[in-house]
């Protein structure tokens, strides 16, 4: 039976998120394809006290930290690469509003893999000896920290390793380039840690640039790294990664990247950002108008556009996607 999991972005947020949850973003991080539109919708629905699992910071975490919606976070990298420090996150950490637990980019991936495999811990040869292992923002008392990455002994060689705790976030909102209505998905560009995350999370919602016919998945099954059987819902929301990039689909919007990060650097700027770029739209058309047709035109013909060519025959036009009946199957589990 062909299950049909397409729902709207507001419905996905209202159905699958709640205050205080452990919320993970799945993306090509830090300035690549992240479903930043999902974060905007979290704010539109006034979610709070979130515990963010972000392999790396992105403009989504920058925004959620600046507004105070995320109060705890675990990350490997917390900058914006070429765009500098993440000013909203930085402000939240320095003021103590956000407790940020530091890991590294490999240790976050290993923790997700441990969660995916349901292992009690993952042995690691990284982070040991550094303050990542010895300082804890979640358990600040005591140096060196005893419970963050405790040392263990390799039973075979006797060597000391670190034990990384597993991650099993309540929800992963994962950006994908292509999804069918059953939740089978193809990602273009680096997967980063979306494979492990999709298996580690209790629930997975996909945010796709394009909805494709399932024939696409049957043509390229090796490339379908997230199969529909572990996906609760699929959201079609083009330019969900804006102002970041989605390889094959659109480039980074450099002007907005800088504006956003500058505004999030102050309380007043953050309030202005919420008013102008979070609460200003209600529909997809209004969202696209907010980005602006000239910007969309400019970012939509980048050097990676050719990556999408093999899949184009299966991409469903907007009229077809919008004519698809709203999701109807019996839910696999209660929300």
């Amino acid at each position: 039976m062909a299950t049909h999991k397409l729902i709207t972005l507001p419905e996905a947020v209202s159905r699958f998120t709640r205050d205080g949850m452990q919320y993970a973003s799945g993306a090509g991080l830090p300035v690549g394809a992240d479903a930043i539109a999902f974060g905007r919708e979290l704010l539109r629905q006034a979610r709070s006290n979130l515990h963010g699992i972000f392999h790396c910071n992105s403009q989504q975490l920058n925004l959620l930290a600046a507004t105070g919606a995320v109060t705890r976070a675990e990350c490997g990298f917390t900058g914006l690469e070429g765009f500098g420090f993440a000013n909203g996150l930085r402000r939240a950490v320095e003021s103590g509003q956000l407790a940020l637990e530091d890991y590294s980019n490999l240790s976050m991936a290993l923790r997700l893999l441990a969660g995916a495999l349901n292992l009690p811990f993952m042995p690691a040869t990284v982070n040991m000896g550094s303050d990542i292992a010895q300082r804890s923002a979640f358990a600040p008392q005591g140096y060196p920290a005893s419970d963050k990455i405790p040392g263990i002994t390799d039973p075979f060689s006797g060597r000391t390793l670190g034990a990384l705790s597993p991650l099993k976030p309540d929800l992963a909102a994962i950006h994908v380039t292509l999804a069918d209505v059953q939740g089978n998905a193809i990602m273009l560009g680096t997967e980063w840690s979306r494979f492990e995350l999709s298996r580690a999370a209790q629930k997975v919602v996909l945010i796709a640039d394009h909805i494709v016919d399932t024939g696409c998945m049957r043509q390229f099954p090796n490339l379908v790294r997230i199969p529909g059987i572990i996906v609760e819902a699929v959201v079609w929301w083009p330019y969900a990664a804006w102002p970041q990039a989605s390889p094959g689909v659109h480039d980074i919007d450099e002007t907005h990247m800088k504006l956003m990060n500058q505004w999030l650097g102050s309380e007043e700027g953050t309030a202005r950002y919420l008013e102008q770029f979070v609460h200003r739209y209600r529909t997809l058309d209004e969202y696209l108008d907010m980005i602006g047709p000239d910007v969309i035109e400019k970012i939509s013909h980048g050097p990676t556009s050719f990556l999408l060519d093999p899949y184009r025959p299966w991409i469903q036009p907007r009229s077809v996607v919008e004519a698809l009946p709203s999701e109807s199957p019996a839910p696999r589990s209660a929300a």
Partner: protein, 272 residues
């Protein structure tokens, strides 16, 4: 160095000198991992100039690509994704390629570095934290993949602007381990990788003493002096055996670097 037989180069910036000197640390055929920004420019400069067969990757698992249209905004952005031969994941690049011990060399940046090559990119506290963790006065970017490179790569090179506030006796926070407290300290933790082989700065190159692992001045650039380097270093910087002035960029080095640095990021940079 080829510089001795070529004519004097056109004027160059200190950032360009640092990128070229760091690129000289990368050898042909090596498996190499570059971070974003300066270290990527230095790495791709090496590939464009003297290491055409360097096997480069980014920590997101982008293989076989060269930057297109200027310096990539990130290790996964479109400018580094337009001519790749393989896209995988962080687990693959930082795990299977680096933590495994396979990676020959990594290039990383630093906000602070100390005399044992420990790197801080996490925050500035400005005081000893003591036994209780407190938020930093200034939050930086965190370790990212640099901790993994510092733990697992056979060797790594640190690139950092040479300022006294950055070259400290002891970093506020060890984001990425150098030689920790010096000597054999790294061996307590069973790291796969060997530690930092050089600190390349805007003024020269520091290398670790073979036994104490304290970084010493190994060479300085033509536009500076031992005295100036020492004045900008927060510990009593020793002179390494055979320390010397280093070759200026050759014409071919500079033109290779500028082909990679299409947008002129290193030329816009001010002194330091």
């Amino acid at each position: 160095m080829s510089a001795s037989v070529e004519p004097a180069p056109a004027p160059y910036t200190r950032q360009e000198m640092m990128a070229i000197a760091a690129g000289r640390e990368i050898h042909d055929g090596e498996l190499a991992i570059f971070g974003v920004g300066l270290s990527m420019l230095a790495g791709y400069f090496a590939q464009a100039h003297h290491a055409p067969n360097v096997r480069a990757m980014t920590e997101g698992g982008v293989y076989g690509s060269t930057p297109l249209g200027g310096l990539p905004w990130g290790i996964e952005c479109n400018r580094i994704s337009a001519n790749a031969v393989s896209f995988t994941s962080a687990l693959d690049a930082l795990g299977c390629m680096v933590a495994s011990g396979r990676c020959d060399v990594g290039l990383i940046g630093a906000a602070q570095v100390d005399k044992f090559g420990n790197v801080n990119t996490t925050g500035i506290w400005g005081h000893d934290m003591g036994d209780t963790y407190t938020p930093p006065k200034t939050r930086l970017t965190g370790a990212g993949g640099a901790n993994d490179i510092a733990s697992g790569a056979k060797r790594f090179v640190i690139m950092v602007g040479h300022e006294k506030k950055r070259f400290v006796n002891k970093v506020d926070y060890i984001s990425s381990p150098g030689y920790l407290e010096g000597g054999q300290a790294r061996e307590r933790y069973g790291f796969v990788g060997g530690g930092p082989s050089a600190i390349v700065t805007t003024l020269g190159i520091l290398r670790p003493h073979p036994h104490t692992r304290e970084f010493e001045l190994s060479g300085w650039f033509a536009y500076t002096s031992v005295e100036e380097v020492r004045a900008h270093t927060g510990w009593d910087l020793k002179l390494a055996a055979h320390a010397q002035q280093l070759a200026e960029p050759s014409v071919s080095e500079l033109s290779a670097l500028r082909r990679v640095d299409q947008t002129g990021m290193l030329r816009k940079a001010t002194a330091q």
